[in-house]
Structure formats: structure tokens, C-alpha cells
């Protein structure tokens, strides 16, 4: 364990169909860039950004996965250790929205049951090409009990908000869980690592 200077460490994994703008969202947030003509991601990309929320240093490990089918088995291996999943679709692409239930099945199958999932409709700068209405997506996310947000990586709309809100929720979730954990059994040597994914405790 490195003695890095942070109070919280969270793993965030971006998933969703190919070409919906996952890499652009991550680049926009971590580097403030919108690289045009971004090629398809190969396997998984990995970025780190440390943000400060209410005076606490939060290190976000962001895993940007490839949307293409042939990388599915690689990306699936990252679900389980994820604290949060950002499920992304393209508001100008009906198909990417229609695939969401399939993605949710994957989450169900591979992710921890404590994982926080956020639904993100990207590319709102292309409003005239919109194929998925906000209302439809909102209803869908409500039915699935997901936090929902529309973004534009290009115009930098809601990108910061997406990650910072998520970080806030992760912090409060982590606090609750460590609290519950501590009541159940004080684990010696747990230290600072936030391992609230522990499923079984010795009673």
C-alpha cells in the first residue's frame, strides 16, 4: 500500500456501447480536452484524478472500457471491484439506448450489489439529432433506480457535475458502510482502505 495523500479512493468504471463518448467524457474530466476523431478504445484505459470535496482529497481511479463486443470479457473483469459504474448511451443513437437492459444484465451478473450506477446520456450538443427523449431516459432510470444525467463532453456540459456528484455519493455511502461494518465487527488492521464490499463478517 502506498502512502499516498488522499482520504478516499474510488474506482469508477465507464461502460456502454461503442462510440457513445465514454473516452471523451473521461478526457474532458481528467484533462479538460475534447480530442476530435478519437479512435475506438482498445481494451481498457486508465486515468486518475484527485479532487477535493469538502476539504477531503478524493482519488478517483477511472477505468474507461472499450465498447466493442470483442473486449467484453476484459471489461467484465473490472465490474466487481468497481465502486461506481457510469452507464453511458448516446442521445442521438436509439440503438445505444436500446442496449441498456443488456448492460444492466451484465451489471447484475458481474458487479457488486453495493455498486452505484449512474445513467448518462451523452452528446446533448447534438440536440437536433436527438433520438432518445429526456423523459424516456428519466423514466427508464427511475424504473431501474439509477441516478440520471445528460452531458456533453464536447461542450463540457454536466461533465464535472457528473463525476463530482458521484464522488459525493460515494463518500457518504462509504461513511455509512464503514459505520455499519464497525458496529458489526471492528476489523483490526483494516486501516484506511475502503473495503466496504466485504460481504461476510465473522460474528
Amino acid at each position: 500500500m502506498s502512502m499516498e495523500d488522499y482520504d478516499f479512493l474510488f474506482k469508477i468504471v465507464l461502460i456502454g456501447n461503442a462510440g457513445v463518448g465514454k473516452t471523451c467524457l473521461v478526457r474532458r474530466f481528467t484533462q479538460g480536452l475534447f480530442p476530435p476523431g478519437q479512435g475506438a478504445t482498445i481494451g481498457v484505459d486508465f486515468m486518475i484524478k484527485t479532487v477535493e470535496i469538502n476539504g477531503e482529497k478524493v482519488k478517483l481511479q477511472i477505468w474507461d472500457t472499450a465498447g466493442q463486443e470483442r473486449f467484453r470479457s476484459i471489461t467484465q473483469s473490472y465490474y466487481r471491484s468497481a465502486n461506481a459504474l457510469i452507464l453511458t448511451y448516446d442521445i442521438t443513437c436509439e440503438e445505444s439506448f436500446r442496449c441498456l437492459p443488456e448492460w444492466l444484465r451484465e451489471i447484475e451478473q458481474y458487479a457488486s450489489n453495493k455498486v452505484i450506477t449512474v445513467l448518462v446520456g451523452n452528446k446533448i450538443d447534438l440536440a437536433d439529432k436527438r433520438e432518445v427523449s429526456q423523459q424516456r431516459a428519466a423514466e427508464f432510470s427511475q424504473a431501474q433506480d439509477m441516478y440520471y444525467l445528460e452531458t456533453s463532453a464536447k461542450e463540457s456540459d454536466n461533465v464535472e457535475k457528473l463525476f463530482l456528484d458521484l464522488a459525493c455519493r460515494l463518500i457518504s455511502e462509504a461513511r455509512q458502510n464503514t459505520l455499519v461494518n464497525n458496529v458489526a465487527s471492528p476489523l483490526p488492521g483494516e486501516g484506511k482502505s475502503i473495503s466496504y464490499l466485504t460481504c461476510c463478517n465473522f460474528n
Binding site: 500500500m1 479512435g39 475506438a40 482498445i42 481494451g43 481498457v44 484505459d45 486508465f46 486515468m47 486518475i48 481511479q61 463486443e69 470483442r70 473486449f71 467484453r72 470479457s73 476484459i74 473483469s77 473490472y78 466487481r80 471491484s81 465487527s185 476489523l187 483490526p188 488492521g189 483494516e190 482502505s193 473495503s195 466485504t198 460481504c199 461476510c200 465473522f202
Partner: protein, 783 residues
């Protein structure tokens, strides 16, 4: 008088403030108003002094008169000289102006000369060019007649490199007509040569005549046909690659299954293909560099890659068909969905194919890295003067070639299937190892720990051998899951069954039955840890599981370290992108976190053991202390000395109890357990102590008992006992005091190096245990 004299000047100063030093500091009015003799005298005195000073100044000024006069004379003498100088200066200025004009005149002539010279050069150049043009025209005709294509091409090259505007200008001249005709002929010759070279090249290619192919390949760039030359040449090379690959594939299909390399024959075929292409690049790179210049290798390889992709597709298609790759993957997927074990695919059957796929990928990565390096360094040479944009553009071309080629995509697909199958292989084999778990007498751990780590290492090792960082990370992630969820769960469930609680009597019986178990196990060689029937087996199982948990935690850290150094090796060879290191580190640190979870599990298991096995027995043994009176006189004290009433038996009991654990637990765990036990003893003993009463000799007796106990416990653990027994030792000290007030010799400022672990209230409480101490004395103590 002195005071008046002192006051005088101050008053005078006030009056005549700002007056010059030449005029008197005393005004006439003031002198007239003076009436006192003393004042008058003082005024007089001062006036005298002033007069003296003025006299002095005047003398000094007068002295300077002669010097000033001599200087004036010198000035007057200089007058005529100054006039001379002025005339000289005017003359000089005139000369300078003249020279300046002259210089400007000369330099403008030089400029004109320079211009003329340049024009002359240009004229010569143009004349040369025109001559060249004529020479080229004649030369091309001759060369073409002689079929000397190199010479012809050289002439055309010369013509092509001529300044087009020069030619245009020449045509406007008097001899424009002739030049026009020449040019026309030259252009015709160029076209003819292009056709001839293309035709000749095609013929040579058809005949497989390498020298001729290379001959005409060298001519293309001279005619400005770089792209065409490279594409034609690549076509030739591709043909060669293709025929060789077909040959190899035919060989593969005919390979006997008993062949030594049969299991990796497709990987071998890919290797041959890649090596062939690499050799082609290696052989022809110099000729391309020499005749086409740097930065052209990309074009050549881009063409070659098309053929490579075509051949890879064939090999992989055959691989998929022959090895039933997709069906096996399908079966694995079905097996993962279904839990019934009957239809599950046997993991062992997957072993060879998994190895072959990783080998295939490793070969592909090696090949891709090779062409990446070659193209990058070729671009570097070509782009040494280029702008940043051009460099980035070229980098983009390269990335696109590497990422989008069919080879990459095909391998990514194969690896995608591979990961799912490898995960299945690992999970199922681990389950099998758990199911077949056995324990051999004399071993601390059972077979499944070694087996499970052997499997995990094998699977990650295989993923590593694919040279794909993403594949490796995925398998590290899956291993973490299997260890953390599946395997930890198994051990957790075993520990949850608990260590069977035994009373003191049970324990004694336990020792004898353990002996008989040992006998029977010696006869059988080993005994099963699954079906727990007797208490002894349950105990054994619990202790073995504790050892297993500890070894798991250790093994994970060892595995992490090994993988770290393996990955460093892989990365240093240039595999993986820029984030490869960070990705691996992150995945490995997740794995290391599982080690801590096993540590926690061990700790919980030990706590369980301590509270169910040790505490219920140790507590009654300590409670026996209460039945031994410590409110004793001389006679009993010496009787105790002869027949120890408590501590010796207690130590024997502890020793007996711990023997079982010492034999069954790893030294590290045993040590932790004795640590827990000593803490328990310290706490429990303190409790009974506070329930007892003491005489002076009783205190001494307790002190002796405590010392024996500490001495014993020191021999059985490496933990620091003294610290745990610090409170008890201090209590013994208090119980040994002669008088109540003697405590003050050790308390507060007198405590010296001793740090009291007892609060003042506790000190009073312990003092009160002494029957012979009066409570008023204790109350009166100031602590």
C-alpha cells in the same frame, strides 16, 4: 555668570534666526537694550570673537587672489588657440561629409555589380538548364534506344527536377519553338518510359525475377512514381509471402497429431508467417531507404499488412475449425450458466487450446511491436525536420495501422474468448482442488492451498505469456475474485463451524483420543478433512484451516511480488502502452488487498479459538485462585512454599492445553494465539485478584506466584509479556508494602523510571485488599 553666558547665545540664536554668518548675531537694538554689566560683557566678548572670525575669513580670501589672477592670465592666453581649433574642426567636418558621399557612391555601384552578377548566374543557370534539357532530350532518346532504362530515368529525373518556371521562360524566348518541340519529345519519352518500366516490372514480377524486379523498382522514384513503385513492389512481396504461407498451411493440415509441436501447430504457423514478413522487411528496407528516401517504410508495410491480414485470417479460420474453438467457448458459456455438474465441460480439456491461443497472441504482439519499431524509427529519420503536426499525423497513421489491422482485431477476439475460458478453467479447477482437499499428518496445511495457488499462478502465468497487458490484468482481476469470493468463502465456512468447545474433563479425554486418532491416521496415511464426525477431527479441521488462511495471505503477497517482477520484465521489452504500468499496479494492489482480508479472517478465527477453546478452560483455572487464601500467616506461607497451592498446577494445565495448539498451528499463528492467551490471563487474573484479600505474607505469596507465571509465559511466546502484566506487577508491588504511606515512596515525583498503569482510585482499591491496612490511612493518602 556662567548661566547667563550660556543663556545668551541661545536667546540671541532665537532672535537672529536665519541671519547670515557675516552679519553679527547680535542686533544693535538688542545691544542698546542691554543694561546689566554682565550681559554687556558677554555681548562684547561675543562680538570680539565674531570680529576675529570675520578677519580670518577675509585673510583667506585675500590669499586666493594671486592664484585667481594667474589663472585669469592663462585663460587670456588660450583665447587665440580656441579660434584655431574652431577652424580645424570645420575643415574636418567638410572632409567627413565628402568621404561619406564618396562611400555611398561606391557602395551603390557595388550593389549594382552584385545584382548584375546574380543575374549573370541566373542566366548561366538557365542556359545550363536549357542545355540540360537538350542533353536530357538527346540522352533519353539514346538511352531508350539502348534499353538503358536507368540512364533514361536519370535524364527524366533531371528534367523533372528542373525549375518549371525556367522552362516556361525559355519557351517565351526566340528559340521557343525548338524548345517546345524538345519538351514535347521529352514528355513523350517520360510517358513511354513509365509504360515501359511498368510493363517490364510486371513481366519480371510474373517471372519471379527478383533482380529485374529490384532493377525496375529502383527506377520508379526517378520518375516521381514513389507510391506506385512501392505498391507494385509490395504486390510482388505479398505474392511471395502468400505462396510461402499457403505452403506452410498445407503442411500444418497434414501434420500428424502425434507430432511434438502438434498442440501449438497454429501458433507455429503464425510464427512462420510473421517471421517471413519480418524477413521481407529486413531484406528490403535498405533498398527502399536508399532509392525512395526515409519515411516510406510505412507505405511498404501498409501494403504488406493487407497480405498478412489475409493469411492470418486463413490460419485463424483453420485454427477455429480444427480446434473447435467457438464450440468450446459456447460450451464454457453454457457450463457457466448451468450449475449442474453433469453437462459441464471438463476444464482439463481446455488446457492445450488456452496455451495455444496465448502463444498465438504473443507471436502477434511480437510481430506488431517489430513493425511498430521499424516504422517509428523510419518516420523519425524522415520527419527530423518536419513540423509537430506532420509528426503527429504520422503517429496517427501508425496507430491506425496497428490498431485497425485485421490481425489485431482477430487476436483481440480470440483473447476475448480466451479470458472467459481461462476464467472458467481457473474457477472449476479451484473448485475441484477444494473438493479433493486432503490433509496429511505432519503437515500444517491441507492440499487445497497449494493446489489453488498453483492453479491461480498457472492461469495468470498463461495470461502473462500472451504478452497482452489487458488480458493479464483481466486474469489478475478474475484471480482476485476467485480468491476473495470463492476461496475465502470456503475457508470462512470451515471456520464458521467453529472450534468445538470442550470442558476441562473433555479436554483430558481429548488428549487420549487425539493419540488414538494419530495411530489410526498413521495407518491410513492421511485423513479426510471434509466429513467432520468427531470433535477431534473438527478441531483438527479448524486448526488446519487457520494455517491455510495464513498461508493464503502469505502466498498472495508472494504472488504479487513475483508478478510485479515478471511484469517489469515484460514492460521493459516494450510491450504495453503508456498506462500499462499503472493498470497492472492497480490490479495487483487489489489483489494485495485480498491478502489483508485473509489476515482479518485469521484474526477472527484466532479470536474465536481464544474465546471458545482457551477462555472456558483458563477462566476456571484462574478462578481456583479464589479458593487459595492469601490472608495468611507465617505457618501457611511456609506450607505454601512446600506444597504450591495454585500456580504450578495452573502452569501445567496451560502447558498441556497449548501443546495441542503448538503441534497443530504454524509458529506464527501459535505465537499470536499465545499472545491472545496471555492477554486473557492478565485480564482474568486481575479480576480474581480484586476479589481476594491479602495479608502482608499473602502479598508476598502473590508476588512469587506472579513471577513464576510471568517466567513461564516468557518462555512460550515471543510477545512482550512484561507489558501485558504491568498492571498486575504494580498491584503485587502495592500488596507487598509495609505500610500504607510507603506507596508515596513510589508514587508521583518518586516514581522514577516506573510508569504507573493504575489510577489513584485503583491504587486505593488494591491497598484496601490488604486486611492489615486501615481504611482511614488509605483515605488520608494524597495521591
Amino acid at each position: 555668570m556662567a548661566a547667563a553666558a550660556a543663556a545668551g547665545p541661545r536667546a540671541a540664536g532665537g532672535d537672529g534666526g536665519g541671519s547670515s554668518p557675516a552679519s553679527s548675531s547680535l542686533s544693535m537694538e538688542r545691544i542698546e537694550s542691554l543694561t546689566e554689566l554682565a550681559d554687556l560683557e558677554a555681548a562684547y566678548g561675543r562680538l570680539c570673537a565674531e570680529e576675529k572670525a570675520v578677519q580670518g575669513e577675509l585673510d583667506a580670501l585675500l590669499e586666493q587672489q594671486s592664484t585667481i589672477e594667474s589663472k585669469m592670465v592663462a585663460f587670456q592666453r588660450m583665447g587665440p588657440n580656441l579660434q584655431l581649433i574652431e577652424e580645424d574642426a570645420q575643415q574636418l567636418a567638410g572632409m567627413i561629409t565628402f568621404t561619406c558621399n564618396l562611400a555611398e557612391n561606391v557602395s551603390s555601384k557595388v550593389r549594382q555589380l552584385d545584382l548584375a552578377k546574380n543575374r549573370l548566374y541566373q542566366a548561366i543557370q538557365r542556359a545550363d538548364d536549357i542545355l540540360d534539357l537538350k542533353f536530357c532530350m538527346d540522352g533519353v532518346q539514346t538511352a531508350l534506344r539502348n534499353e538503358d532504362y536507368e540512364q533514361a530515368a536519370a535524364h527524366i529525373h533531371r528534367y523533372l527536377s528542373l525549375d518549371k518556371s525556367v522552362i516556361e521562360l525559355s519557351r517565351q524566348g526566340k528559340e521557343g519553338g525548338i524548345i517546345d518541340a524538345n519538351l514535347k519529345l521529352l514528355q513523350e519519352a517520360e510517358q513511354r518510359l513509365k509504360t515501359i518500366v511498368t510493363e517490364k516490372f510486371d513481366t519480371a514480377m510474373k517471372q519471379g525475377d527478383l533482380p529485374q524486379v529490384e532493377r525496375f523498382f529502383k527506377i520508379f522514384p526517378l520518375l516521381g512514381l514513389h507510391e506506385e513503385g512501392l505498391s507494385k513492389f509490395s504486390e510482388y512481396l505479398c505474392k511471395q509471402v502468400a505462396s510461402k504461407a499457403e505452403e506452410n498451411l498445407l503442411l500444418v493440415m497434414g501434420t500428424d497429431m502425434s507430432d511434438r509441436r502438434a498442440a501449438v501447430i497454429f501458433a507455429d504457423t503464425l510464427t512462420l508467417l510473421f517471421e517471413g514478413i519480418a524477413r521481407v522487411v529486413e531484406t528490403h528496407q535498405p533498398i527502399v531507404e536508399t532509392y525512395y528516401g526515409p519515411g516510406r517504410l510505412y507505405t511498404l508495410i501498409k501494403h504488406l499488412q493487407v497480405e498478412c491480414d489475409r493469411q492470418v485470417e486463413k490460419v485463424v479460420d483453420n485454427f477455429i475449425k480444427e480446434r473447435d474453438y467457438h464450440r468450446q467457448f459456447q460450451q464454457v458459456q453454457n457450463s457457466m450458466m448451468r450449475s449442474s455438474s453433469t453437462e459441464k465441460i471438463e476444464p482439463r480439456e481446455l488446457d492445450p487450446i488456452l496455451t495455444e491461443v496465448t502463444l498465438m497472441n504473443a507471436r502477434s504482439e511480437l510481430y506488431l511491436r517489430f513493425i511498430k519499431r521499424r516504422i517509428t524509427s523510419d518516420f523519425e529519420v524522415g520527419d527530423s525536420m518536419a513540423s509537430e503536426e506532420v509528426k503527429q499525423e504520422h503517429q496517427k497513421y501508425l496507430d491506425k495501422l496497428l490498431n485497425n489491422c485485421l490481425l489485431s482485431r482477430t487476436m483481440q477476439e480470440l483473447i476475448g474468448y480466451y479470458i472467459t475460458m481461462e476464467e472458467y478453467f481457473m474457477r472449476e479447477t479451484v473448485n475441484k482442488a477444494v473438493a479433493m482437499d486432503s490433509y496429511e499428518k505432519g503437515q500444517l496445511t491441507s492440499s487445497m492451498v497449494d493446489d489453488v495457488f498453483y492453479i491461480v499462478k498457472k492461469c495468470i502465468g498463461r495470461a502473462l505469456s500472451s504478452s497482452s497487458i489487458d488480458c493479464l490484468c483481466a486474469m489478475i482481476n478474475h484471480s482476485t475474485t476467485v480468491l476473495e469470493s470463492n476461496f475465502r468463502e470456503v475457508l470462512y465456512n470451515k471456520l464458521k463451524q467453529g472450534f468445538p468447545a470442550t470442558t476441562f474433563q473433555d479436554f483430558q479425554r481429548g488428549v487420549t483420543s487425539a493419540v488414538s486418532i494419530m495411530h489410526s491416521s498413521l495407518q491410513q496415511g492421511k485423513f479426510d478433512t471434509k466429513g467432520i464426525e468427531s470433535t477431534d477431527e473438527a478441531k483438527q479441521s479448524f486448526l488446519v484451516t487457520l494455517n491455510n488462511v495464513e498461508v493464503c495471505s502469505e502466498n498472495i503477497m508472494t504472488l504479487k511480488k513475483t508478478l510485479e517482477s515478471d511484469c517489469t520484465k515484460l514492460l521493459s521489452q516494450g510491450f504495453g502502452g503508456e498506462q500499462a504500468q499503472a493498470k497492472i499496479e492497480s490490479c495487483l494492489s487489489d489483489m494485495a488487498a485480498v491478502s489483508n482480508k485473509f489476515r482479518d479472517l485469521l484474526q477472527e478465527g484466532l479470536n474465536e479459538l481464544n474465546s471458545t477453546a482457551i477462555k472456558p478452560q483458563v477462566k476456571p483455572w484462574i478462578n481456583l485462585f479464589l479458593s487459595v487464601s492469601h490472608n495468611i500467616e507465617e505457618e501457611e506461607f511456609s506450607d505454601y512454599e512446600a506444597n504450591d497451592p495454585w500456580v504450578q498446577q495452573f502452569i501445567i494445565n496451560l502447558e498441556q492445553q497449548m501443546t495441542e495448539f503448538k503441534a497443530g498451528l504454524s509458529p506464527v499463528i501459535y505465537d499470536t494465539l499465545t499472545g491472545l492467551m496471555t492477554s486473557l490471563i492478565a485480564i482474568e487474573l486481575e479480576k480474581v485478584l480484586l476479589k481476594s484479600t491479602f495479608s502482608r505474607l499473602g502479598g508476598l505469596q502473590f508476588d512469587k506466584e506472579l513471577r513464576s507465571l510471568i517466567a513461564y509465559l516468557t518462555t512460550v511466546t515471543t510477545w512482550t509479556i512484561r507489558d501485558k502484566f504491568a498492571r498486575l506487577s504494580q498491584m503485587a508491588t502495592i500488596l507487598n508494602l509495609e505500610r500504607v504511606t510507603e506507596i508515596l515512596d513510589y508514587w508521583g515525583p518518586n516514581s522514577g523510571p516506573l510508569t504507573w498503569r493504575l489510577t489513584p482510585a485503583e491504587v486505593r482499591q488494591v491497598l484496601a485488599l490488604r486486611m492489615d491496612f486501615r481504611s482511614e490511612d488509605i483515605k488520608r493518602l494524597r495521591l
